[in-house]
Symmetry: C2
Subunit: 352 residues, 2 copies
């Protein structure tokens, strides 16, 4: 074991503060990574504030962060894919059983024994896993990803959650050239959705309730912007979409977007409103539409996404902050006051 | 024009009674059919009682019925696929524009200009189209289907709506050998779903709230029956289905069935509850499940379904009635007091 610097919260209402945590020494298959940047995901805020108490109660002190990029500092004797000095990344998963049908099919995120990067039982050290708000992490090689060297590291960090969350359903539902794709909700997830849909060759339409976001949406790669409160504009697009990515995590009228879909069109939720959404069945029968969800992606697909980003030079739009501004960033994130993701420069942790 | 015998209702609260209607003389591309049997669909009841007043108000007098089988009596000069004496069938559609992308792709049911077999504007005679509760009908050749000669005609009639409605989504979502398929709701649609899923080689599980239906479900081809009120039984099957056909037209807890789906599993509604169904988004994110709808099928697929039925000797389980029992049958249908579909023997109309 060794000591690592970290920022932890000691209760649902405590601010994050500097602390020291234990990390395991890298075993045979482990990779030790010096964390250079870590994105802040909306899930981190929910977890910190114990807002998912019913399904995933938070164990305190908690060290969050699952959008991790850094540099390899040590590797175990059996590690073959990484050596010290390599760039490396870790997302939402740090382990799974590796033997179940889901793992074998490359869907580690659906493994019944998956281990999350934070707040999951830590079978090595006891307690729970600690995430990326830290200067170092040790992860089994199978869950460590390669980062294309051309990407800005601060801006690459959010790819590990916001990136794969939006890339995976687009690949699954066949987004590409000749397809008309909608993105609902222009935040951390939505802005990545726009970039991916554009890079995949689709005609991209952003739905937003704020006319002020129009320019930004176009800059991100949207071909059109529809103001969702404008019934005329909405009607013009009814029945015309192949795929819609809905990244809104609050309750909203989902039928308005289902009605935008053409035959065999799919709307995939990547946000998770806490309350059930009322879905009109007639809207699904007509044109054989489908309504579905998607959750991050498997390890192989996450690597595919990173490689795609390398090839197309795609990263998130980030505001880089020192870790001392973490609490303030949480408050701003809740108000959607960021374009479009915070990325913590972990060099700032050295002064703690 | 010529006169045909029919049963019509003159208002939402009137019983059906014998009457005479006008049919057009067959033009160049038309096929005239002597109707031998016509199934009674739950939609007929909604239409007769004007229960869809908001979306499809009923024009009275109405002649309903869209599960029609009979024998060709005359054909227009340009008709090539049928000759007098041939068996023929007509389903829910009697026309479409033939030129839109939906028609060109074989999805006439999604054509913006489709013409329903009843209660749609009749461009030939004015008024609205009259359906199968009649001794004769004239339909353009493109919407007339061939009936395999080995099928019992009375029992084949419901294939034209209940059959295609359940066959189409199963084909679309890949039901076949090695797949685990659920059917919710063992009525006119559901019992056809069981037969098709079984014939397609799937492992078929019927969900029912009535233990009394267990024997019937097994006879129809189910491999297992789950009593939906039994939480233990339900839990045993959680996360294990590839496809579920939901034929329940009333509000019900759809999340209980979505949770039965495995990775990439799909639940398709073929019933249409009037109220929106609350859908929990977490249940969709996990395992990338999808929730969708399906509406009858196109003409080519309806023919494919009939040919499949001929090959596998599949028909509906019907109770054959004379048309004089039509009103009584409606009342029984609303109470689900039929196994599983009424088929009207149109010979009974001769005595009117």
């Amino acid at each position: 074991m060794y000591k690592a610097k970290a920022y932890a919260a000691s209760s649902a209402t405590s601010p994050f503060a500097s602390t020291t945590i234990q990390r395991r020494d890298p075993a045979e298959h482990d990779v030790q990574i010096e964390i250079l940047f870590c994105g802040i995901c909306r899930s981190d805020v929910h977890q910190a504030r114990n807002e998912w108490a019913n399904v995933m109660p938070t164990v305190y002190p908690c060290v969050l962060g699952h959008e991790i990029v850094g540099r390899v500092t040590r590797v175990g004797s059996a590690v073959t894919k990484f050596k010290p000095g390599d760039l490396a990344a870790v997302g939402c998963l740090v382990d799974s059983d590796g033997t179940c049908p889901e793992c074998k099919a490359g869907f580690e995120q659906f493994c019944p024994n998956w281990v999350g990067t934070y707040n999951f039982p830590d079978k090595h050290l006891g307690g729970v896993t600690f995430g990326g708000y830290s200067d170092s992490i040790v992860v089994t090689e199978r869950f460590v990803l390669r980062v294309p060297s051309n990407l800005n590291l601060a801006a690459a960090a959010p790819l590990l959650c916001a990136g794969i969350t939006t890339y995976s359903p687009m690949r699954h539902w066949g987004v590409g050239k000749g397809k008309k794709v909608g993105v609902v909700g222009l935040g951390g997830l939505g802005h990545m959705g726009v970039k991916f849909a554009h890079a995949l060759g689709a005609h991209v339409v952003v739905f937003t309730s704020s006319p002020g976001k129009k320019g930004d949406a176009l800059c991100l790669g949207a071909d059109e912007v529809v103001i969702s409160k404008d019934a005329n504009e909405m009607n013009k697009h009814a029945g015309s979409f192949d795929f819609i990515l809905d990244a809104v995590a609050a309750s909203h009228d989902i039928n308005a977007y289902i009605n935008m879909l053409g035959r065999d069109g799919n709307l995939t939720m990547v946000g998770a409103p806490p309350e059930p959404l009322p879905v009109g069945v007639f809207g699904l029968l007509i044109r054989r539409r489908s309504f579905s969800g998607s959750l991050i992606g498997g390890i192989a697909e996450t690597q595919e996404m990173l490689d795609f980003c390398g090839k197309h030079n795609i990263t998130a739009d980030v505001e880089v902050i020192p870790i001392q501004k973490l609490n303030e960033a949480y408050d701003r994130l809740v108000k959607s006051d960021v374009k479009y993701r915070f990325s913590i420069d972990m060099a700032s942790l050295k002064s703690e």
